[in-house]
């Protein structure tokens, strides 16, 4: 028996039972669509997070004061030295591979202009913060090199903060009050949006030294160090640790790479994707049981047909092939339909949430199709074997 004839016979049999065929095709299609759509969402979440991280700069070392460790004798976890502007300068000068360094101090304070005031995060930074966080200026200028460390009264407004406070008035050159401190607006940032939940539009930026005085801090909140290339991240991290250990005479800072954070997130989200795929495959195996059901009904409904086939000389293997082919055709058509349906669902989702980069990954489409065919074969074997075991005389006489 030729392959094309087996397929043709199977398709003919399926067309003869339209309702049953379309229902089981629908079952598989929904299962496959679920696999495709859910993995697309999982992958979308992953690339969303990745994009958020890269928009915060790449090849970054983040220096955090204090160290998480268990200590025995001292009740307060040891002495923590302040992270100072001098530390930042030293990192910038003495660690090979470090291209630029930004120091950050942070607090929240009300910003006043005329009768309006708005409570926003106040970020004390240095000039290189602009490059590291990839911020754009829409008017005026950012802090110049050195201004951050000197502690002047320059202030850069976030896009939303500028809009809320000034309502169309040009803020450049105006004097605003932050708490009881007076600042002159030297620049306004272009909108950047949120990154990892932090709104870069609704804040003000001032020199880091001024911020430390204003919030009465002796230690920096963070030091960001951008490294030349990702290959030099690890040695640079070591260098920063050693340098600060030397300066503080204790290992009292934590250095993380942004990539480490990213890859942690990425692997969490990878597990999420797999979980979603696992959930989806449950629905796929339900569809498989559906196929098995349909094929078993087909076998018992078509006993006479099987008897006839055997009487005209179909061998067991040919009957097996014919019924297996039906199951495979069912699941393959269902699979193809499901991939289309899943892709459509993802498109509709993206139409509602355009910022979410969901698209079905190629591997999930390939895997979904493979699973569909496997489901067809796997759940088709038993019914097909039932068909071959049928006694032709019993089948023909209806005994």
């Amino acid at each position: 028996m030729r392959f094309a004839d087996v397929a043709g016979f199977a398709v003919g049999a399926l067309r003869g039972h339209r309702l049953r065929t379309s229902l089981s095709v629908a079952g598989v299609a929904v299962g496959i669509a679920a696999v495709v759509a859910l993995t697309a969402l999982g992958e979308g979440a992953r690339s969303y997070v990745t994009r958020e991280f890269t928009s915060l700069g790449s090849n970054l070392l983040i220096v955090i004061p204090g160290k998480v460790e268990t200590t025995g004798v001292m009740p307060f976890g040891g002495v923590t030295h302040d992270l100072t502007l001098d530390d930042a300068r030293a990192v910038s000068r003495r660690v090979p591979g470090v291209v630029r360094v930004a120091s950050i101090a942070i607090g929240t304070e009300a910003v006043h202009w005329q009768d309006r005031s708005r409570s926003v995060p106040v970020l004390g930074v240095t000039a290189s913060y602009q490059k590291i966080r990839q911020l754009e200026i829409s008017g005026g200028r950012f802090l110049a090199p050195g201004e951050g460390e000197q502690g002047g009264n320059q202030l850069v407004l976030g896009a939303k903060a500028a809009h809320e406070l000034f309502r169309g008035t040009n803020p450049l050159g105006r004097v605003v009050r932050v708490g009881s401190w007076r600042f002159r607006v030297i620049g306004v940032m272009a909108p950047k949006g949120r990154a990892l939940g932090f709104d870069f539009d609704d804040l003000v930026l001032i020199p880091v030294k001024t911020a430390m005085q204003m919030f009465n801090r002796t230690s920096l909140f963070r030091i960001l160090a951008e490294v030349e290339s990702s290959g030099r991240l690890t040695p640079a991290k070591e260098g920063v640790l050693r340098l600060l250990e030397q300066r503080h005479r204790a290992e009292d800072v934590t250095v993380v790479t942004q990539d480490a954070v990213l890859s942690a997130f990425s692997s969490i989200l990878g597990v999420l994707t797999l979980t979603l795929a696992g959930l989806a495959s449950v629905s796929l195996s339900v569809a498989g049981v559906g196929i098995m059901n349909v094929m078993l009904v087909a076998v018992s409904e078509r006993r006479r047909e099987i008897g006839i086939l055997k009487a005209v000389g179909a061998g067991n293997r040919q009957v097996l092939a014919a019924f297996l082919a039906e199951a495979v055709v069912l699941s393959t058509v269902g699979g193809a339909l499901g991939v289309g349906l899943g892709a459509l669902a993802v498109r509709i989702f993206v139409a509602f949430y355009p910022t979410f980069p969901a698209s079905p990954p190629a591997w999930s489409i390939a895997a979904a199709m493979a699973v569909a065919v496997a489901v067809g074969v796997g759940f088709g074997v038993w019914p097909a074997r039932c068909a071959t075991r049928l006694d032709p005389v019993a089948a023909l006489t209806g005994r």
Partner: protein, 223 residues
């Protein structure tokens, strides 16, 4: 061509053992036309199924063309059904979703005959039974007599040496029955063995040899 030697066939129905065929022995030569007669339940259909390799005897020997069929595997038996044996049934047993043409092509499909040749041979067979113009009708669009003629075309399309008919006229009116029997005889005329199971004396009379069965045994053989 056919040698049955003390063939028995029994099966269980519930608690009781049914002896459908008991100690049947006969020979049928090539090209013979034989009728097997008997009331229903006399075991004649079971005997026909054994002759057609659809069923196996419980005991005894069945030799077909000098081969012991009892020794053959399932695959070899289906090969035999495919190439050597044609069946005609009382209820026609056509596949309802296929056209007349498709039904006649069916045995060739499983034999692996190429599509072009298949179409040609099926058309020829339908012409031989006088249904060339009904080739693309489905069974439900055909009369009983026409359906049985399609079934005959299907039975002979592989050019078998043995033609088995199980009550071929049982579901037909007089004139269709007459037509179908004439066709069966004509088509088996060129050297095929024809065995017809019937309880209709008129159908049986047409055969050169009649085997009468009752309770699974042969009770009479007449030339």
């Amino acid at each position: 061509m056919i040698e049955l030697d003390d063939v028995c066939r029994s099966y269980r129905v519930g608690d009781s053992e049914v002896h459908a065929v008991q100690h049947v022995t006969f020979r049928i030569g090539g090209g013979e036309h034989v009728a097997i007669m008997g009331p229903s339940g006399s075991g004649k259909s079971t005997l026909l199924h054994i002759l057609g390799c659809l069923d196996r005897p419980t005991s005894g020997r069945y030799r077909f063309r000098d081969r012991d069929v009892g020794d053959l595997s399932d695959e070899e038996r289906s090969h035999l059904r495919q190439n050597e044996i044609g069946f005609v049934f009382q209820f026609f047993h056509l596949l309802p979703r296929l056209t007349a043409q498709g039904n006649v092509e069916l045995p060739m499909l499983f034999a692996g005959v190429a599509p072009g040749e298949r179409r040609q041979r099926a058309a020829d067979a339908l012409r031989a039974v006088g249904l060339a113009d009904r080739a693309h009708h489905r069974p439900d669009q055909l009369s009983g007599g026409q359906r049985q003629r399609v079934a005959i075309a299907r039975a002979v399309v592989m050019r078998p040496s043995l033609l088995l008919a199980d009550e071929p006229t049982g579901n037909l009116d007089r004139s269709s029955a007459e037509e179908v029997m004439t066709l069966l005889e004509k088509i088996s005329g060129d050297g095929r063995t024809l065995i017809v199971v019937t309880h209709d004396p008129e159908v049986a009379q047409r055969a050169r040899r009649v085997i009468r069965m009752s309770d699974g045994r042969i009770v009479e053989e007449a030339e």
